[in-house]
Amino acid sequence: MFGIPAQVLFGQLMLGVINGAFYATMSLGLALIFGVLNIINFTHGAQYMMGGFVAWMLLQYCGIGYWSALVLAPIIVGLSGLVIERLLLRHLYNLDHLYGLLLTFALSLVIEGLFREYYGVSGQPYEIPESLRGGFDLGFMFLPKYRAWVLLASIGICLITWLVVEWTRLGSYLRAATENPMLVRALGIRVPNLITMTYVGGVMLAAFAGVLAAPIYQVSSIMGSNIIPVVFAVVVIGGLGSIFGAVVTGFMVGLLEGVTKLVYPPATNMAVFAAMVVILLLRPQGLFGRRNY
């Protein structure tokens, strides 16, 4: 097919889907935060990095392994998100988007700088948990068990988030608060608490992705800045504020990168942004976004 052996093609597409799962989880958090808070959370990359680091620290200093870290790390990083929201972000909601972007960007620089100061950039060793080592020989490729787990976990978390937002009462409050916060408050619902919870939720998603990444990528201070440009592009392509769009676009971008690596690898880093430019020219609100943004 296209001069590429079917085996190689399917293998690369499989990898693309797995990478897409990462992007989907990260962009889900970003889209959630932007949809409800109207804040462009540049700190997302740093929070992803913190998730990986907390997982490493839990292992290194407390002997707590991977499975518990999957739950504990997001909670710990989520708490830091709570502090950021209450102390800093709260004051910016009524201002231009730009202030939120500047603040979160500055925060990301500070956080990454601190980690770099203490831990350098080469990264810390974090091994794949015993139960997920090895893999399946699918014939057209060797699929590591861990990568299959990443795919399942990402799909799972996206599904849970979607269920909460679309099907629960809490989710309905969230969606209402996006449309008309004044009215929602008038109806007796604590909007500030809702907002804090959303931010913490988004941060926890980033940290969860960080723990998933720890065994396969470097746990280093620059891991966030490596992934965040692509995640932003995904959110923009999917449509700012659209959760469904973020997830679907995440997977699509993963596939796009996979195909680019086959056809013309040097363009891999550029492919996403080229797609973003094209899509924005044709449809400025993104693929699934709402027009009145």
């Binding site: 190689v8 060793p125 690898p265 040097p266 891999t268």
Partner: protein
């Protein structure tokens, strides 16, 4: 009126005194490297500290003036490095720039040094073009280069009958140079490059390239990359079971900081070529322990190279009695390099500092007896075997 005459006279005196006064300007050394991104651990602030140690050990002053040391982060970008070099040489009177990782940045800085007629001593920049077609009378490459890495690791693997190679190459000057130099050895020995992947620099996820490598008929998958790229490649190679398929992994450039980051469990068995190891002998151990006290990490070969280069430079300035770049360079070439880093090392006219290299293998966790006990030395590669012969480089300075 009298005051005016006095001022005018003073001014004239100062102006004429200018060139004479300039001769008394202190020696200023600039350490330029990556302090915040992918190569920050293999040189970075450690390289700056090594230079500082060299200045302190030399006594802190030369030609009657205190030695000044400045440093800056070029962020691994050739354009930032070029701007910095221009500013340092022109406005800030830096006499010599040291270290310069990232081959693209090193090539840019050496070109500027050549144009401004000031010195550059490259420790981390790897491309062998720096002493080949792009050589300069004002530049020296101290610690290693892509040719010596290829000579060491490729020859060793070819001797073990690994004749089919697959390259995963970082898509910039360094990766291309390393692949080219290694390919020469492979084809000369009758081997074959069965395929290669160009990975954007830097990359986090090597899974697709490793997948292509796994599907090829290669005996060896060679990583023509460094720092974080190498770490990720090796980690993911283990994950994708590359070794079970009977393939070997050759990390063409690896630093002790990479091994420390990977952990011995993952890095064990990797064969690599290095210009320095902290645990080689008493002299290297003594210096490295001092370095460890300041940086809490053992020195990489490039950090040790910075110390050696700065020390040799200062000795040459003292012996020559002047800062004049060509005079100092001549002194550096005429004097053998003898310190903990090199024994009877020689700085050649093409800028190449020729010294022994070492073929090492990363120990297994069981073999490692104390912290940072990572390498076992398989063999010492004598200086003349390790580096490209003078006449073969294509350096315009060398009459053929």
């Amino acid at each position: 009126m009298k005051l005016f005459k006095w001022c005018f006279g003073l001014l004239a005196l100062l102006i004429t005194c200018g060139p004479v006064c300039a001769q008394q300007e202190p020696v200023k050394i600039g350490v330029m490297n990556d302090q915040s991104s992918i190569y920050a651990d293999l040189s970075g602030l450690g390289g700056v500290e090594a230079a500082r140690m060299a200045v302190e050990d030399f006594g802190g002053s030369v030609l009657g003036q205190p030695i000044q040391l400045v440093s800056a982060d070029h962020q691994n970008k050739a354009d930032v490095a070029a701007n910095l070099a221009n500013r340092w040489y022109d406005a800030e009177h830096v006499d010599v720039i040291v270290d310069v990782p990232n081959s693209a940045a090193a090539l840019a800085v050496q070109a500027i040094a050549n144009q401004k007629k000031k010195l550059v001593l490259i420790s981390t920049g790897a491309t062998s073009d720096l002493t080949g077609p792009k050589c300069s009378a004002y530049g020296a490459q101290w610690t290693y280069d892509t040719y010596s890495l290829a000579a060491g690791t490729a020859r060793a693997l070819i001797q073990e009958k690994a004749l089919k190679w697959y390259f995963i190459t970082a898509d910039y000057a360094f990766g291309h140079a390393l692949q080219a130099d290694t390919t020469k050895f492979i084809t000369a020995a009758g081997g074959e490059v069965v395929g290669s992947s160009l990975a954007p620099f830097p990359t986090q996820d090597f899974s697709s390239f490793l997948l292509s490598a796994a599907g090829s008929s290669a005996d060896v998958v060679a990583l023509a990359n460094a720092g974080g790229d190498t770490i990720n490649s090796i980690k993911q190679a283990r994950e994708f079971n590359l070794f079970q398929k009977g393939k070997r992994l050759a990390a063409l450039l690896m630093f002790i900081s990479d091994v420390h980051s990977l952990g011995l469990n993952t890095a064990q068995g990797t064969v690599l070529t290095t210009g320095f190891y902290w645990d080689l002998n008493d002299a290297t151990r003594a210096w490295s322990k001092r370095f460890f006290e300041r940086r809490h990490a053992m020195p990489t070969m490039t950090q040790a190279g910075v110390y050696s280069a700065v020390t040799h430079y200062l000795k040459a300035v003292q012996a020559a009695g002047t800062k004049d770049p060509l005079a100092v360079m001549k002194k550096m070439q005429d004097t053998p390099v003898n310190d903990f880093f090199a024994k009877d090392g020689k700085l050649r006219p093409d800028g190449r500092m020729v010294h022994d290299m070492y073929l090492v293998q990363v120990k297994t966790p069981e073999e490692s007896k104390y912290p940072w006990d990572y390498y076992k030395v398989l063999r010492t590669i004598p200086a003349d075997d390790a580096f490209r012969p003078l006449k073969e480089g294509g350096c315009p300075l060398i009459a053929n």
